[in-house]
Amino acid sequence: MKKLDTNSNVYTIVYATVMVVIVALLLAVVSSALKPKQQANVELDRKKQVLSSLNIDLKGQDAEALYAQLISEQQIDGKQVFVATLEDGSKKYIIPMHGAGLWGAIWGYIALDDDKNTIYGTYFNHDSETPGLGGEITTRYFQTRFNGKHILGAEGYQMEIVKGEAQGEQVQAISGATITSKGVETMINTTLSDYLSFLSGNGSCEAGQSSAESNIIAIETKEQVEPQVVEEVNDPYQEVEPAEVAASINE
């Protein structure tokens, strides 16, 4: 057999074409074969995240079954809300959140008590924050700092994450990760303002309630609740001027 000239133009082009077609076929087959399994993983991961906002330790537990048992996904006022019924019968609302950290996306879930005010638990995760600094938002010690705080403050639905010692309803930021901490704060506040009608509504998931109606309710409820809350949390807010806090955080 005559030896092929492996350096001829025709050979090179044919070689490259055949190679690319074979590789493309191979990758396409593998990718579509593994797709269902991968999607199941992504879905399971999401369920685990929702569950961990309920302070549930998932070690050695079947997250899939637990999720199905505890959580129902609902659309309330056109917003996605996960309603969880815990084993002791108490009802929690879990709201998904999305925001921006220092380097990339951050996201999380915030679980509220039945009163839609007290934080029951939180979960945060991130795409590319610095490990050991901004990446610490995934740790339990940061997430549990939110527990028991109230989202309804003197200025409406707002959380405040501050540098240094936290007072009253404030949450202490992660040292060395101010921008990521501020990102978490912004994420929470943006989400809360998005969910205003749900938060200040009466909690029923009646489909007939239009968003305009529930907005009116929102304003009314807020006015009723506000004075009382101001009294309660007056001290911490007076000791630290919001403007001052903002300035110190911006440093």
Partner: protein
């Protein structure tokens, strides 16, 4: 099984005297990125070993048919295809690890060890020798990763493979995890220390 001297050197040389990381100083970037904990370092080491060995074999089999002018492209396509396969398989069967390794699995494509072995060895040697060479170089890379990750996880988080190894009473008596170990710079310093130790041990052989 008895290995001939040449085969033994092909397989075991890269583990020590000819180590790709500490002697040839290749593949440093991923060594910095994935060694905060032991588990991703292990997976990364295994992934690179598999990919180097397999791409070495494939290129070695094709070596007489590859047109010289596009040989680098052919090598890249083979490596990229294998890396994509590994990353897909990880996403399907070890999702949490693949999230942890994130972009670094994809970046195996640019790992200098791979292209180096393909150009220097697989293009001129038979499939079996190339396989051993790939295995040796992959393991040589993995060993360094595991050593660095061992110290970084132990000193940085007080755990190994996720299990707490430094007892709680140490923390109660004022022991603190070294946050520096979490930073990529520490991996570079650790690799430097390994190179130092390695050079002092192999002083004569290097000459």
């Amino acid at each position: 099984m008895k290995l001939s001297d040449k085969t033994r050197e092909t397989l075991l040389g890269p583990l020590n005297v000819n180590n790709p990381v500490v002697v040839q100083v290749l593949g440093i970037c991923s060594a910095l990125a994935v060694t905060v904990q032991l588990k991703p370092a292990l997976v990364m080491g295994i992934a690179v070993t598999i990919i180097v060995a397999m791409s070495n074999v494939i290129i070695s089999l094709l070596r007489n048919t590859i047109p010289m002018r596009i040989r680098i492209i052919v090598q890249l396509v083979v490596v990229a295809a294998l890396v994509t396969l590994v990353s897909e398989v990880l996403r399907a069967f070890a999702y949490d690890v693949s999230v942890q390794l994130s972009v670094y699995i994809g970046l195996i494509i640019t790992n200098c060890i791979l292209m180096g072995r393909l150009e220097a060895f697989a293009m001129t040697n038979g499939p079996w020798d190339s396989f051993l060479d790939g295995l040796g170089n992959g393991l040589g890379y993995a060993i360094i990763l595991v050593i660095v990750a061992f110290f970084r996880e132990l000193l940085g988080s007080g755990s190994l493979l996720g299990f707490q190894v430094i007892p709680q009473w140490c923390f109660e008596h004022g022991y603190v995890n070294n946050g520096m170990m979490m930073m990529p710079a520490m991996a570079l310093i650790l690799v430097g220390c390994i190179i130092w130790v390695h050079r002092s041990i192999n002083k004569e052989e290097k000459k």
